[in-house]
Every structure is written in C-alpha cells, then in structure tokens.
C-alpha cells in the first residue's frame, strides 16, 4: 500500500502518492494492460534502463503491478500487468487514508467528510 510518509499533497494527480516515473509506468500499463520491459523502455526513452528496472521492481514489490516470466529456448522476459484499474487504485488509496485519519481523529473525520461532500454537491 502507499506509504503515508510518501504522500505529498502539494503534487498533482497520482503524483501525490507515487513518483513521476511510477505514474508514467502505471499509466502505460493501464493503457496497454500487458507490456514487456522492452516496450516500457521504448515509451520511456528519456529514462535509463536502471531507472526503469528499479521502478518496475518497486511497483511489483508494493503490489500495484504483477509480472510473470515468459521463458523460451532462446529468450527470457518478464510480462508486466497492473493489479488493479485506476478507479480501483483510487478506492484502495482513499480507504487507506480515511482509515488512518479515523484512527487518529475519530468521528470528527466522518462528520467533516460529510460536510465537505455537502459543500461540493
């Protein structure tokens, strides 16, 4: 799950919760569904091989992306796919954040969410 200490509310969009490289790769995977690292590298030409590799390992470790090994006689490669859609990710992150806020501030958070919702609608 996204670590709370990594949340940066000043950033735009998903960059609040992920690094810009992670967001780029997640967007590619949501668009392409299954991609090899070579395809990802092709789309992120400005990033080094080591940077793409490190980011992919991190996303797999944190459970947002999964990979399986495609093994042939002459070639081995990973095939990457996202573990959830963008909407599901939004649900997972917001649940986590709200849980943490309720743990800290109790029912005040629930009534505040209700108020904010009322103002917005």
């Amino acid at each position: 799950m996204v670590k709370l200490e990594r949340i940066s509310l000043r950033n735009e969009g998903l960059k609040k919760f992920f690094s810009s490289n992670e967001v780029r790769i997640l967007d590619l995977l949501w668009k392409g569904q299954t991609l090899t690292s070579a395809q990802i590298q092709l789309e992120c030409e400005d990033l080094s091989l080591a940077c793409v590799a490190g980011t992919l390992d991190r996303l797999v470790k944190s459970g947002f992306v999964e990979r399986k090994v495609d093994e042939g006689e002459t070639r081995v490669r990973y095939i990457y796919s996202p573990t959830c859609t963008k909407d599901e990710l939004g649900m997972r992150i917001s649940e986590h954040v709200v849980d943490c806020l309720i743990d800290t501030f109790g029912t005040a958070v629930v009534s505040n969410i209700g108020k904010t919702r009322g103002k917005r609608s």
């Binding site: 090899t36 690292s37 091989l49 490190g54 992919l56 090994v69 042939g72 002459t74 070639r75 990973y78």
Partner: protein
C-alpha cells in the same frame, strides 16, 4: 612502562629482532612478487606469515599487553562476524528471490558444470556466490544467449579460480593488511577464451557500465 613501549622494547631485543625482520622481509617479498605476478596465492602466503607471527608474538612476548590482545581479538572477531553475516544475508536473499527457469538455464548448467540460479529482479545483476552463479531476469532479457554464456563463463572463473572471499577477507583482517587483488580482468580473459572475444565484448558493451567499458577496452588492448 606502558604496554606499547614494552612491545617495542621486545621487538628490538636481539632474540626477537631477527625473526621479526625475517617475517617483515618475507612478507614484503611476497607482496612485491604478488604485485609483479598478480598471483593471489603469494599475498595469501604473506598474510598467513604475518598472522602467525602476530599470534606468536602476542602469546610469547613477556609484556603486559593484554589490552593489545583484546584489541586484536576484537578487531578480528568483529570483522569475521560482519563478514559472515553479510555472506549469510547475501545467500539468504539470493535463495529467497530465485525463479525456476529450466529450458534456458539447464543448457548453461550442463555446459559450464555449475549450478545457475536466476534472481527475480528486472535489474541487471550477475555474481557468483559459493559454487553457484546467479543471473537476474533483467540480465537474461537484455543479453542474447551467447552474451549470457560470456557472463556465466566470467562467473565460472570466480567460482573455480578466485580465492574464497571469506577466507581471503579473514586473512587480510587477521594479518592487519589488505585485500587488493581484483581478478575481474582474469575472469574476462577466461570468458573470452571460452566464448570468444566478440561475445564478451558485446555483453560488456550492453551492460553499459563505466567499469565494464574499461574492461572492454583492456580486452582489445591485450589481444
């Protein structure tokens, strides 16, 4: 008289000075030969002589130098402990993160007669640990079969010919000397002999690290 003065006093006594000089001279000769011939056995020999003479000196000298014995034992034993922990951690991590690949790895194991394990990471990694060569999936993705053979041949050299890292580090520590030998060039030379210079050069070029580029140049220079 403090223990250091006593120790230095002991060293300059005629009965001690001669053997001490012989130890220093033989260690320095082995060191000089090592730098000339690049044979790590010479350095290990020198380190064994120094270690034995340190132990002999500490035990036999009639000085109140217990604190020095404690310092020496502390440095060596903590060094050994750290090295063993690092070794254990590397082995544990490598075992934990392997992926089973058969059709790609079996021919390599057969050809080089060593176990080859594949680490589950996109990063490009290759190393030898114990009697096993470890390659990452990232490396296998990036290199073709002949280039992978070059990398495995390089690791085979380390497994079969390089000194055991734990023993050589232990000797460097206990002799209070150093561990300067770097046999990466020899491993590259061996790999070039086994799989051909072109394959090794291509593999090194693809790995794109500054050090590998340097080694690449060295290989062509030595041909």
């Amino acid at each position: 008289m403090n223990s250091l003065d006593c120790f230095l006093g002991c060293l300059t006594q005629p009965g001690i000075l001669l053997p001490f000089s012989i130890v220093v001279a033989s260690s320095l000769s082995l060191l000089a030969l090592f730098f000339k011939l690049r044979r790590y056995e010479l350095l290990l020999g020198g380190q064994i002589i120094v270690t034995v003479s340190i132990l002999f000196g500490l035990v036999s000298m009639n000085c109140p130098m217990y604190q020095w014995i404690w310092v020496y034992s502390g440095v060596v034993s903590s060094g050994v402990l750290v090295l063993m922990l690092v070794r254990y951690w590397i082995a544990r991590q490598a075992r934990k993160n392997t992926v089973p690949l058969s059709s790609f790895v079996l021919p390599l194991e057969k050809e080089f007669e060593i176990p080859v394990r594949v680490i589950d990471t996109q990063k490009i990694r290759a190393f030898a640990h114990g009697k096993v060569a470890y390659l990452s999936v990232g490396l296998l993705e990036h290199l073709n079969r002949d280039e992978v053979r070059a990398v495995v041949a390089h690791e085979v050299y380390h497994i079969k010919h390089s000194p055991d890292k734990l023993i050589s580090s232990l000797l460097a520590l206990s002799s209070l000397t150093f561990k300067p030998y770097n046999d990466e060039h020899l491993a590259d030379k061996y790999a070039a002999e086994v799989v051909g210079k072109d394959n090794l050069a291509k593999a090194l070029k693809k790995l794109e690290t500054a050090s590998s580029m340097q080694r690449n140049n060295d290989i062509f220079r030595s041909s």
